[in-house]
């Protein structure tokens, strides 16, 4: 019988090994680069808020434990394969037949139990820390309602309704102001995930979930719907805009105002109210009181359209109003079959809703 692993010329083996190392290096390089990417990151290892920071600390501990276990066991495996592989010409006799050993098996039962015990302790402590946090009286409260495929955001105490962009104040050493989110759904299950701020919590119809964040650095944080919710699950992005307390108050003040009514956009206003736009959208202070789509009262204050499917630029807005299905296929806003002129007018009107 031939020796087992098919023997190729040594040079071929060396070449293959070299290729594998090169490929590994390239991949490792890309991974490092991807994790180092500072712009628009959704990296769970760059948390800028509680509870994501606590999660990160815990996860690094767990990864360290798992890495040690991996190195020990994989090392044993590699050693065993190399040390005890059958050598050429040694096929005649059988090795000593060992059936087991109670002592050894006891050892490798007890050791994992001890590790598991440690894991249970750190896990339960962290669960309690995060889940059992009570809302302080001054905490900001907001309600996030998942829709196919956008986010409705309400601040009940402030009387604000907006969409797809959650504004919250930053906390710092002088003042901690967490935001408590009540999560609901209008249709199917969704999941709220902004990796740099917190882990996921689902938005489930006929159920209220709660989560909290306490970001410390201003900026815009990106996230996705993380529970499959139908056709456009992929284009259901959430943005969390963290502002200084002063900027946040200014934003609140702006949002609380009624919709602008500029004379220059009067024609577009007529077209808007003559079409069925009003059946789905609300513009506060007007007869447009639809509940099915996002509130448009201050839509120009938002960065994106259609839950991150298009930028909120004149061109983006025009394309969206003309044919939503071309921008976000399958979305629930129909193509209203308007003429170019009508589209221009409506876009002109919408652009006044600052």
């Amino acid at each position: 019988m031939r020796p087992s692993l098919s023997l190729r010329p040594g040079i071929l083996r060396a070449l293959a090994l070299l290729c594998a190392c090169a490929a590994w290096l390239i991949i490792a390089g890309h991974v490092t680069q991807a994790f180092g990417n500072p712009s628009g990151t959704t990296n769970i290892f760059r948390p800028l808020s509680q509870p994501a920071q606590e999660v990160q600390e815990l996860s690094l501990l767990v990864i360290a434990i798992c890495t040690v276990i991996f190195l020990v066991v994989a090392g044993l495996l590699a050693y065993t394969i190399i040390r005890f592989r059958q050598r050429a010409g040694d096929e005649a006799s059988e090795p000593p037949q060992i059936y087991g050993s109670n002592q050894i098996e006891m050892a490798w039962t007890v050791l994992p139990i001890l590790i598991v015990f440690v894991l249970i302790l750190v896990t339960s402590r962290s669960i309690a820390n995060i889940q059992n946090r009570e809302a302080s009286p001054d905490a900001l409260r907001a309600t996030v309602i998942g829709h196919q495929w956008w986010w409705e955001i309400r601040y009940p105490k402030l009387g604000i309704v907006t969409a797809n962009e959650l504004h919250v104040p930053a906390s710092d050493a002088s003042g901690r102001r967490p935001t408590f989110l009540k999560l609901e759904s209008a249709d199917v299950a969704h999941s709220f995930w902004v990796p740099q701020l917190a882990g996921k919590t689902d938005l489930i119809p006929n159920r209220e979930n709660l989560m909290w964040i306490e970001p410390t650095e201003i900026g815009t944080y990106l996230g996705n719907c993380a529970e499959y919710c139908g056709t456009q699950h992929a284009r259901m992005l959430i943005r969390v805009v963290v502002q200084t307390p002063e900027e946040f108050e200014r934003w609140v003040g702006e949002q609380q105002q009624a919709a602008a009514e500029e004379a220059s956009a009067a024609e577009g206003r007529v077209v808007f109210f003559a079409n069925s736009c009003v059946n789905c959208h609300t513009i506060r202070g007007t007869t447009a009181q639809g509940m099915f789509g996002p509130d448009l009262t201050h839509m120009m204050s938002r960065q994106t359209l259609a839950s991150g499917a298009a930028p909120n630029t004149p061109a983006g807005l025009r394309a969206w109003v003309r044919d939503p299905q071309a921008v976000k296929v399958g979305c629930l806003m129909p193509n209203m079959q308007m003429t170019d002129e009508e589209v221009d007018k409506i876009v002109a009107y919408l652009q006044t809703l600052k």
């Binding site: 628009g40 990296n43 592989r85 090795p95 037949q97 598991v116 006929n206 993380a226 139908g230 992929a234």
Partner: protein, 557 residues
Amino acid sequence: MASQEIALIDERQPGTSFVERLHGLVITVDHKKLGLMYVGTALGFLLVAGLMALAIRMQLAVPNNTLLEPDVFNRFFTMHGTAMVFLVGMPIIAGLGNYLVPLMIGTRDMAFPRLNAFGYWMFLFGGLLLYFSYLGAPGLAGHGSAPDVGWFAYAPLTGRAFSRGHGTDYWILSLLLTSVGSTVSAINVLATVFALRCRGMTLMRMPLFVWLMVVTNFMILLALPALSASQVMLLIDRYLGGHFFDTQAGGSAVIWQHFFWIFGHPEVYILIIPAFACVSEIVPVFSRKPIFGYPVMVGATVMIGLISVSVWAHHMFSVGMTSVGNTFFAISTFLVAVPTGIKIFNWLGTMYGGKIRLELPMIFCLGFLFQFLIAGLTGVMLAVVPFNWQLTDSYFVVAHFHYTLVGGFLSGMFAGFYYWYPKTSGRLLDRRLGFWHFWLFFIGFHLTFDTMHFPGLLGMPRRVYTYDAGRGWETLNFITSLGALIQAAGVLCLVVNILRSWKKGKVAGNDPWDAWTLEWATTSPPPDYNFETLPVVRSRRPLWDLKHPEDPDWKYD
């Protein structure tokens, strides 16, 4: 050698026409033919569902790709997942159990041969029905096609308001059929093991393979009814005005998740334990030592079976359970790691001090051990609830369970194919092509699934049909897709190998691996009646006793 070859050809009765042979398959109640039909059909579905995975990977190779429409993509991942679990995993298990259990316990057939055939045909028609949905599911105004609700079909996306047409109905009905098949097949294996063991084969002398099949089939009986019952409830919701999961009428979406995972988590162990079973047979034979700590291995498997029915809600850490609920399911999930770890150590203990022959079945087992170790450790990470809040429903989870099911289950099954193929056909699978299969698949697997963990850590959710550039996902996804192509090339080698070696492979003889369990005591392929005279055994390794009369195992029993 020559005379053996002639005998083999005689077994196959040359001259019977294609139609006659086909008729033979339709009417057969022979456990060996049914076993091969199960595995063959499953391989067919593996190719179809694998092609769907390839299409998914091509779509995700670059950002903002337009190869697949969103709805087409959603159908593909639903069909891929459903088919891989119910039309590939389950029937391969049933096939292996069917073919090998009667041979290993020294009997002539399964306890209920006709029920056995019934089970196969239920599975086949269930599978065909699932794929027929592409033609049959469109309903009013052309809504609907194949199911697009994901393989765990979370409510209320499956309600009539959100799932129009009949895609979800096909998903329910086809799985109900295959569940009937799996259930009768499980009953059959259990009855066979408990009633038909040959003389001397006490429970603690059964090959580990048989023990693990017993545990798996018990779990099938325990878990599948939860799925079938909730599917019937969903059907009632959809057509008879029930409100079990209809949230708009006060139903509960979370209860569906509980019901599904009460089935779904044991299901994962149902799939992986047969892979353990293959590894537990192959590692000893190719290390030339008996399995290390047989009673502990049996105990650990039973423990896995028991604990695994209490871990289901670790799929649901983000649904807003109480902190007590989350802690309970974290603890039970950590606990299941203990017996699983014991199994890995015992396989290592079996290899240690042996003479390891690096033949094809063995190297697939080594791949299994290495990959399953990693899958287990990422599983431990996922059990850490706060970490899970970040990882769940991201590509990290997708990488984790593909590590378990491809790196674990499928590698174990490949090892089994190379090991038992000579028994079923009388011929060895080609060694050269086999090594091509192993290396292509191994390299492709690691390119795909090692890399896939990282987009998850970088915030990429699962089940998205596309993504924007700029979050560090592009290159990683491209490498992942590249690996998928290499894996496909590996599987192609296996398929060619299986087809070509059936008639042209090297003749294997009865016992090509110098093994110890009873299936190697009969001819390859075995006659219809398996054994001329039923064997009598005195230890766990009857063929070892036969080959080593100076040092038989039964001395130590």
